[in-house]
Amino acid sequence: MSAQTLNVPGTPTPIPVDPQAQDKDDKFYYATQWNLIWWKFKRHKLAIISVFFLALLYLSAIFAEFVTPYNVATRFEGQQQGPPTPIRFIHQGSLRGPFIYAVKRKADPKTFKFIFTPDETKPIPIQFFSQGDPYKLLGLFPSSLHLFSTGVGKTAPPVFLFGTDRLGRDIFSRTIHGARISLAIPLVGVALSFLIGVVLGGLSGYFGGVVDEIVQRLIDFLSAIPQLPLWIALSAALPRDWSTEKTFFAITILLSIIGWTGLARVVRGKLLQLREEDYALAAQAAGAGQWRIILKHLLPGFTSHLIVSITNGIPAGILAETSLSFIGVGMQPPAVSWGVLLQDAQNLVSVAQQPWQLIPGLFVIATGLLFSFVGDGLRDAADPYTR
């Protein structure tokens, strides 16, 4: 961090460095814990940028129908396995708004590979907020407004930002739609892990003794075995003909069965540590009940650590869902998730010819990275009194 970021006027320095600076920062002493965490988190620029992009990603997933030009199942005849459409700004030497050229597909008579040639005589402008495939926004409001497209109906040459798959479907639209399942599964899975982890970790830390021993052995066991082979094997128990929703929940349950251990460790460790603090003893002496002590006095001491653990659990969930769906034992088509989209890339020969099929994979990596950066920033901020 450069010194510049520390001296921005109006930004209180959370850590008093020298006595002179302290007088200026009375605010620091009256600040709540959450204020302190926020001030410290704000200084972690990478984390702030990551939060912004994650928010953007989740928003586009929620409003996927509006953001994307086509529906997930819309097929374009004669456009199968097409490369991404370049967005152009210069037509015959003159600058103009974003446009595309219509693309014609022809099979090479010798290699039987498809050749896509743009028709450079006629620019087709990209229209913003235009009409297109009808849909229901959030499943409630019928609409046919799209953020961008090249016009209504099949007559206008389509725009494919990420190219098309072997059935002629727009990979961009499918990637954004697929984000719904791929981004929701880790959230639901982590929420479930959170529940199991807090309950078991809490019991283990609070009661100790035999309960503690059993929970600890269970955690040892779950973290000592290779998870992916176990998931693959257990997925044999998922019937193939289950609906998308059922498979979705089955997978989140599979994820959280193993994912809770990290959280349980944090809860147990912190409970054991905080139970010994003077203020816990003071509360006890003042006659507070057990639950009041746990909820009112101990819990606030480690909520920030819980949030860090949760954030760090999410990338693992994304990786697990994508891996399982990719090898064909997780989500199944027609459901769309990033893992399902990558199933098309299983054939290495087709990847070599149509590398754009890997684009959903870039989303997987990017999302994992963004969550890691946020987690990193949160970890630094979680304990505002240290350093």
Binding site: R217, L218, D220, F221, S223, A224, I225, P226, Q227, L228, P229, L230, I232, A233, L234, S235, A236, A237, P239, P315, L319, T322, S323, F326, I327, G328, V329, L342, A345, Q346, L348, V351, A352, P355, L358, G361, V364, I365, T367, G368, L369, F371, S372, F373
Partner: protein, 331 residues
Amino acid sequence: MLAFIIRRVITLVPILILISIVSFAVIELPPGDWVSFRIESLRQSGLQVGEDEIYRLTSQYGLDKPAYVRYVSWVTNMLQGDFGYSFQWNEPVNKILAERVPRTMAISLMSLVLAWIISTPIGIISAVKQYSAIDYASTFLSFIGLATPGFLLALILAYFSITVIGFSPLGLFSQQYLDAPFSLAKLLDLGKHLVLPLLIVGLTGTGVAIRVLRANLLDELKKQYVVTARAKGLSEYQVLMRYPVRMAINPLISTIGFVLPGLVGGEVVVSIVLSLETTGPVLLRAVQSQDLYLAGGIVMMLSTLTVIGTLLSDIALAALDPRIRFGGVRK
């Protein structure tokens, strides 16, 4: 030391029992039972299956008995080396396991070693030159290692291998060496095919190892003995290598415990993408065709070996660090 080893081996027992229960669940959970699949597949191949044959199979696999009896007989058979029968391969499961499981474990362990070889210098440099460009680059690299699923990396690297180098990394051997007798050329070919899997499987471990080594070394460098060593006039290289690095490397061994399961799991998925002849493709096909004694056997063997690997790393750590041996600090 002996007492420590005995204590650790005893804690292994409940874990092994849990592993066997979970592996048994893999065999039992899916709807339908193994015998009806077997009969179905026999019928599909045109064989007549009579009532007495069904009865024979049912009692052979104990399907007429309650689940816990089946579990006990499965475990006792397994202890005698009988993992059941794979109808898909028409072979006893232990034969397939004996061929495939050692390969998965070998690739996982070799990736672990590779991960150390890569991460040790990077970890040391990024701790010594904290907040330098190398430090940021290595942090970024380890984040990518943690955020990229192995199968995706396998896909991307295989793509570049095919398009740029023109080498197809699929399988463990090239076509012409598949049935060839052992020779130097065959070994070389195997080596070429192993580069990609080792790199991919190792990357996750590399990310973790860099983070751990860097954090530990940063802690050690702050300690007073480093200042003392420097004050006594040791060269900067000696100051670093004599004590802090040796201290910081110790915890790397203890990370085996939580890195190894990930590596084994990663190997399984990567081998599916690159169709390596290890456990991955076998497990996937076994799951898809409900060949569940095979699937359960693979989970059982991989988990058991991983847990034993962790145990060995614990013992090695105790041998290196007397504080652990005498119960001063836990892990």
